[in-house]
Amino acid sequence: MRLKRAAATGGALALLVVMGACSENKGTDGGSGENRVQSGSIATDPKDSMGPAAEVPGAAKGGTFRVIRETKISHLDPQRVYSFAGLMNAPLYSRFLTTFKDDGSGKVTLVGDLAETPGTDVNKDCKVWEFKIKDGVKFEDGSAITSKEIAYGIARSFDPDLTGGPTYLQEWLANDPQYDTKWNFKANKTSLPPGLTAPDAKTLKFEFAKPHCDLPFAASLPYTAPLKADKDTGVNLDNQPFSSGPYKITKNTAGVELVMERNENWDPKTDPVRHAYPDKIVWNYGPDAEAGANRVISDNGDDQTALAWNGVPSALVARVTGDATLKDRSVRGQTPSLWRLTINTQRVTDLSVRQALNYAIDRDGFIKAYGGEASAKAVTTLMPPSTIGWESYDAYPAGPSGNVEKAKELLAGKTPELVLGISDDSPELATQLKANLEKAGFKITVKTIPTDAKLDETSKKNNPYDLWTDQWAADWPSGAAILPVLFDGRTIKAESNSNTSYVNSDEINKEFDRILAMPAGEQGKEWAKLDKRIMTELAPAVPLFVEQGYYLHGSKVGGIYLSSIFGYPAFTNVYVKQ
């Protein structure tokens, strides 16, 4: 009797499960569409850099917008912000020298934020740059922002205690990767780093030893946020930054929530990009990606005005794409984060082996193993499609699933034994790659590396691996922030390399120098050409895919778009439907 009842319960349970999964899966309609090709320009007319930003149709002022995220934002101090969450959040409470006017379509314009224009190349040699500061820009206490405060902000980024932020400006000014040894911030708090001057309250001047035509782009990162010297609380600024943007931080409980409320001293007439429609913006920390997505899907109470920052986890994608009611609540698009299978050219010295890897790769299968077309889109270039000037090409055309025969032909009977390093949180990627490449005649040995050690291990020059996956997302959509960083052989050092393929070709290195000396606006096409040349001549990696963003927000949220620069949800246009 008891047994029968148990059997009945078990059977009912099984039936329930089966019924739940009973709809037929006929396949999907594809990922998030075409490659969105970036077109970028630098605004020369000061009018483009003035506010207020054009109204967003349907937007209304007021309400509270929420963001649900698993972990807290690592840094709030503008000079230390570098994580994607931090980069997308920082414009809410701080302003920078320059910024991108963006609507998520891929058409970006670099405009002045605190500066009237995105910089003037004084001698047309990219060595001396001048910025004029706008009138009417203010801190949260109502005091005016001048070039002095911006210069102080840049100066404090030299402080070795304030870790985590980008280091382009510091390295360029000091003309040395070890910039903090060249100029000591703590000993010179009242002076400015070498090459940085503020001749008057409205002028900021950079003088570099080498040409840096990308300066207007580099100045868009949060380390150019201004700060008054008497408001500098050192490492504690991370908890309570001093606001120059449309919001100020009113409550910050580590790991629980971050509350930002309107800063009345921000003048929309000076701001070309920020709208600041909601009265209040709150980050709620805690729920993981799955919990966050499920909360937004159920759309109850406060979650109606929330965004799930951790996106739609790949296991939930099938459910979210299948639900038509979620379509207008989802935001999808490409990110600049490109995955490649790095080939250690110090070990795999035979070009034909590297080319065979490029022919053999089954991108379609790899993407399925990674999480599917909703989270990845195949590429054959070294730069992501969101780079200015990007052009599609396939140096080793083999179709979406690879061409094993062609690879075998190139190997000519050899069976290269390669060691594949894989982080221990994604062993299925190694399983996929091993099965894929062994079909073409390679012999693959898989070595797992602890996830948090993988980057350190593979960026050591003499690491023991032949193949591993790498990701790169540039800080601005220019080839200058990608190709020289990843493939300039003169930068190779013992540890923490970005050139993890360890290629060093004199001819390619010369090309880097040539293109870097060109005006930023003319470099785009040249980088695309060099991209193809590197792949054809060196084959230092197998480009795999570009990550795709997939986010859900509540039914009362509007104006969310994916930043064309970073590929994460941007908050400059966000509003709460009334």
Partner: protein, 335 residues
Amino acid sequence: MSLSPVEGAARAEMEPAADPVKPDEQGIVGRSPGQLAWARLRRDRTAMVSGVVLVLFVVLALAAPLISKLYGVGPNEQFQQLLDGNGMPLGYVGGITGDHWFGLEPRLGRDIFIRMIYGMRTSLFIAFAAALVTTAIGVAAGILAGFLGGIVDTVISWITDVALALPFLIFALAVVPTVGLRFYGPREEVPPAFQVTVLIGIFAAFGWTSTARLVRGQVISLREREFVEAARASGAGLGHMLFRQLLPNLWAPILVAFSLAVPSYITGEAALSFLGIGILEPTADFGRMIFQSIPYLQTDPAYVFFPGVTIFILVLAFNLLGDALRDALDPKSSR
């Protein structure tokens, strides 16, 4: 728990007529305690059903390569062409077809049925091997400590206490990933056989304590008995005393301990693989399979259902059989 099963069995032997179900037709026939226990086990329907289920599982696991050949699919074969663009199986209920009876794994598209058969082989091998090793160590340590007493008993009991005090999971998390580095170079693959050995070793290092304590207690109660005194008086050596006199009287508790250890190692191994320190990809394994399937609870419940239900049935059958075995060997410990 501290009842002596030998004593119980001995009494049952003296009173066969008290057995209510089996009518005494052939007159009083001398039967060994083992025969009696077997007869009691035969009458227990739960034990028989779980026994049959277990035999079935063990046969399936042992015949894994043969099944794979008949079924026509290998455990590491990928069928990604049967997945949609999001890596989810096409068709009904996680891709169940005549070719793939339990459907396909999302992402990699491997056959769930054949991976479960192979995963069962991994799990059962590790569990049985670990149970054998721990029982052997536990019996040896317990019998020595119990019989010799004195300084030997004190030392062995100390070691037992220390082993019990060490946190198993923390130790496993710290040791398992590093052992591979110790024996294999940075460019050498760690073979699955090595991972299996490490797991068995970890279980052996921690699992012997309960058996040792159990056996030690039993031996202490036995060593003052007349037959032991008699053997000692006749001048029997230590080996004879331990293995000829004491051990035959200990089989019942050892058997029960063993049969309950196996399911606990199955779940233990699954738990370690769940935590990512057990058996690694691409070797099929229950724990990792369940771990990987959990995020798909909403989108592909079949992937969670099949391995989950199978490990549940396997462990339940083992536990029920272990309980029944205890009842059969020790009828006095009524539930």
